[in-house]
């Protein structure tokens, strides 16, 4: 609680909200519960689930999906969608492999990384321009972009896979195996979580992202350049998607045109499970990460429990809907969809 003296001479109390209320208002509150519940569930059902070896591989999957999900959530909080993130994921991965193979000079893979990220960022800019200048829903813009990117990739590669033969600097820095199968990608994921949490909650830009997604007209009335905020968010989202693609490619060492197909919906589902509102203005990066972690757990946990891996999608579908309902109930009537 802070107390200050007002100009009227009376003391003004500013109460820090009680813990219970603050928890309820955290977008990721429901996701924490769901995460713990599933964690316990799989640990009981699948004996080998709770082992360091498995948990690190869960984190590996989580990191790759999670980096994309952070971007997707960020843009959703800003009030827009990006369905082309999986296209961007594949395109950046493909570009990285192709350029890495061509750039035989020192630090070739590093240059390839940044060029590929630059192209992803550019795709985000194009998405933003089309959406804002063309005044069409980003759902449509990015659906088009997703199909476009995927088609271009198929056209160029003819459906053939390409293996990575460039230098090992970037692959090692991104996904080189460390002790207990920990990988650097876990660390990068953590860094991005911290960075984007900071941006959203502790910077001027973050405040404007929430406002733009929460109520565009109000943000505009208060002098926020809404289009600029959206454009930057589109670019951040696309760049993160590209980065997650490069991380995954570094692990697989092979790129093909159908890489990451359907992953955009996984990322959006993870965002929703993590408590981000589809209508914008509300959500968190921690929630996004937890959403991705839930997906990662389900993916390996089901297999370890002996269920065919096809069940993954069905299970995630149920979790998604239950999570959406649970999030709403937890928050109460003040934060409707």
């Amino acid at each position: 609680m802070s107390v200050a003296e007002s100009r009227r001479g009376t003391l003004v109390h500013n109460v820090t909200l009680p813990l219970k209320e603050r928890l309820r208002r955290k977008p990721e509150f429901g996701a924490v519960i769901a995460f713990l519940a599933l964690f316990v569930f799989f640990s009981l059902v699948a004996p080998r689930f709770f082992s360091l070896r498995n948990l690190t591989s869960v984190i590996t999957i989580t990191a790759e999906l999670g980096i994309m999900t952070i971007g997707a959530s960020f843009l959703m909080i800003c009030g827009e969608f990006d369905l082309s993130i999986s296209g961007n994921y594949a395109t950046a991965g493909f570009l990285f492999v192709t350029l890495g193979n061509i750039f035989s000079f020192p630090l070739g893979s590093v240059i390839a990384l940044f060029v590929a990220l630059g192209i992803s960022c550019l795709v985000g800019l194009v998405n933003a321009q089309i959406t804002l200048k063309g005044r069409i829903p980003s759902f449509i813009t990015t659906l088009g972009m997703m199909m476009f990117l995927r088609g271009i990739l198929l056209g160029i590669t003819g459906g053939q896979s390409i293996s990575y033969k460039g230098d090992s600097i970037v692959p090692t820095l991104l996904t080189g195996i460390l002790a207990h199968r920990f990988r650097p990608s876990h660390f990068w994921f953590l860094c991005l979580m911290v960075l984007f949490t900071f941006i959203l909650n502790r910077t001027v830009f973050g405040n404007r992202v929430y406002a733009t997604g929460g109520k565009k007209e109000a943000a505009r009335t208060m002098g926020v350049n809404v289009d600029r905020v959206k454009t930057i968010s589109f670019m951040l989202c696309a760049t993160l998607a590209g980065f997650s693609g490069i991380v995954a490619i570094s692990r697989f060492n092979i790129a093909n045109a159908s890489f990451g197909q359907g992953m955009e919906l996984e990322a959006i589902a993870a965002s929703v499970i993590g408590g981000t509102l589809m209508t914008g203005g509300y959500g968190s990066v921690i929630g996004a990460a937890l959403g991705a972690a839930i997906m990662g757990m389900v993916r390996t946990g089901l297999v370890m429990a002996g269920a065919p891996s096809y069940w993954y999608s069905a299970f995630v579908g149920v979790i998604l809907v239950v999570a959406a309902i649970m999030n709403l109930r937890l928050r109460g009537a003040t934060l409707e969809w």
């Binding site: 603050r22 909650n201 109000a218």
Partner: protein
């Protein structure tokens, strides 16, 4: 009446929308630290007049002076910078954000930590709480979401914010609409408090009784023409209501 130059003077304002003549040669002024109620029936031109003043659109004819200096606003932004702030309870607050975050939206304070400009959350909470309590509204915590607040509390945030950022003139279009009777009283009280803090207030209303409780002066519009002005206390609310209903001043000094 004193000879002092008013804070704002609008002279001979005309505005048409197609064939509809919304305003036909209206003169309007607001003095320092004065509450003016704009009264009139639907379609009288009240909203058009204040939208011209707040820069939403320019007049077809006529001029606006701010402290004797001729001004032309190209946008609401410019009017705001000049200190003319329109207070919308619905249009300027984001429900899913906290009071403190709303309060400083667009003018967020930061402090430097090394190379980083970090939101000064402490200042945001403290200043917004002080500003809102200064105009006589109690809120439990500035961390509360705006969606939890009543209509009157929301107006307090919007007014407190405008006063805090130095608005000279607050414009309120039907601030009492959709409010409960208790909340209406709260908002009327806010208007009085904003005046005490040195601001001038222009507010539009249908309801003469509301106007009478806080306004220093009443300006009556009918069908795009100013039909009269009344200083508080000169006429009873019943007489003013009669003027609005009939569209003419009865026994007034101006016709």
């Amino acid at each position: 009446m004193d000879r002092e130059e008013p804070l704002v003077r609008m002279g001979n304002i005309h505005k048409s929308f197609g064939v509809v003549k919304a305003l036909r040669g209206v003169d309007f002024e607001v003095r320092e630290n004065e509450v003016v109620a704009l009264l009139g029936d639907n379609g009288a031109g009240k909203s058009t007049l204040i939208k011209i003043l707040s820069g939403v659109f320019p007049p077809d004819q006529g001029s606006i002076y701010l402290r004797g200096k001729r001004i032309e606003f190209a946008s609401p932004e410019e009017a705001r910078i000049a200190g003319i702030e329109t207070v919308h309870q619905d249009l300027s607050l984001v429900e899913k954000m906290s009071i403190a975050r709303n309060f400083f939206l667009g003018k967020e304070p930061t402090r430097r930590i090394g190379p980083l400009a970090v939101l000064d959350v402490k200042k945001m909470n403290q200043d917004s709480q002080l500003a809102v309590s200064d105009i006589g509204m109690r809120i439990r915590s500035t961390e509360e979401l705006v969606s939890c607040l009543s209509g009157g509390q929301r107006q307090a945030i919007a007014i407190g914010r405008a006063v805090y950022f130095g608005a000279k003139i607050l414009i309120m279009d039907e601030p009492l609409r959709n409010l409960s009777i208790r909340e209406q009283r709260v908002v009327l009280n806010l208007i009085a408090e904003a005046k005490k803090k040195g601001s001038s207030v222009i507010f539009i209303t249908h309801n003469v009784y509301h106007a009478c409780s806080v306004a220093d002066r009443f300006v009556l519009l009918d069908n795009g023409v100013k039909i009269g002005e009344v200083i508080a206390g000169e006429k009873t609310p019943e007489e003013i209501a009669e003027c609005i209903a009939t569209g003419c001043m009865v026994g007034g000094e101006k016709g």
